[in-house]
């Protein structure tokens, strides 16, 4: 057992924020402590929606969708974090 600190960037989906965050964290381990520490609006939001140009958005993030910045600690088994599963850009904090 080890504690793995994480910083995630998660495109905001519809529905429960708690469920979205905990599902994203579950890919790395069992969430122990987490918080949304920032919310990034899509850059040039109104322009991006009008022109369909996905400039400046993280890879795979739908146009006009905010990005949640999450800081967390999960309880993990096995070796330390190396690669992030798809759907949530992560770095080991």
């Amino acid at each position: 057992m080890r504690l793995q600190p994480l910083e995630l960037r998660l495109p905001r989906g519809s529905g429960s924020l708690c469920a979205q965050v905990e599902q994203a964290l579950a890919a790395y381990g069992r969430p122990l402590r987490w918080a949304i520490t920032g919310v990034e609006s899509p850059p040039g939001h109104s322009d991006a929606v009008a022109t369909g140009t996905p400039t400046g958005t993280p890879t795979g993030t739908p146009i006009g969708v905010a990005t949640l910045l999450i800081e967390a600690v999960v309880i993990a088994d096995g070796p330390a974090l190396s690669a992030a599963p798809s759907g949530a850009a992560a770095r080991s904090a």
């Binding site: 080890r2 924020l17 918080a35 949304i36 919310v39 600690v73």
Partner: protein, 357 residues
Amino acid sequence: MTASPLPTVLVVPTGIGCAIGGYAGDALPAARLLAAASGCLITHPNVMNGAALYWRDPRIHYVEGWGLDRFAAGALALRPVRCQRVGLLLDAGIEEELRLRHLQVADGCRATLGLEIGPVLSTDEPLEVALELGRSGASWGRLGRPDALLRAGERLREAGATAIAVVARFPEDPESEALAAYRGGSGVDALAGAEAVISHLLCDHLGIPCAHAPALSPLPLTPALDPRAAGEELGTTFLPCVLVGLSRAPDLVPWPAPVAPMAAASADPVLLRPEAIGAVVAPAGALGGAAVLACAERGVPVIAVANPCVLQVTAEALGLKVLPAASYAEAAGLLLALREGIAPAALQRPLAALAAR
């Protein structure tokens, strides 16, 4: 006051530099006011812990952050108790003189306050606490030997402790600019993130009330000490407030109960059920925590108080509907309104007329 209590969750996240609550229990006056307004306040150690300073209020329930998150999510109920037997868990990395100080504090709490404390155990390895800052500026931390923490906690529970006060040796840099800023009333509490990880881990593993006090060497006197930080520099440890808080911390009861919840509630009338939460109060820029979001998603009114911090996670950013309050005094007024069944909108102007659909 004739209205029944309105159970209210108060969250002041630790380690994000809140103007109120980011120091040594300096959110206590706000907690006392909100407890008077609501009749029943559930809050976490960061709000109540003033190191050598503390306040006992039967309307305030001391619940560690992990437990608070689970209570807000509906996974735990709280059972008030008359007295917990508080085991003391000391990090093997604490030097002998500082260890003796902590034992004497515990003895003082037994002799002078009548607290039930013991047994005392040490971890079999130093815990190796490390401090970190997240990108947001919030305080986080690491634990090198979480296994040693959990082994010691298990032994204490098996030895009869019903709550655990853990004291871990923290790294210190008395010359750091960050510490000087904190003592002067700015910046974040650099210890807070690691403290939360320690107590969360212990609560998660053992399912009993736990709280943490850092072991640090005393700091030299400074004339530039901010009043909000003063509580931490009155004594040689941060332990008294933790022992007092834990001595009456409610038991954590898995919920829903294995039997039908209503049957469990009627069989245990003092049980504080998560369905009874009537409001949650949190800083307006820090609404992204698990407890606040869980309450909001269950339709519990969120009172967002202007309390500047390093975060900007607002109701607008998250798409939450909240009751804004310019101060904790205003938040108390809103709680009273909710408790008395008065629509908060009726207290605001202008008041738009109803429109028939």
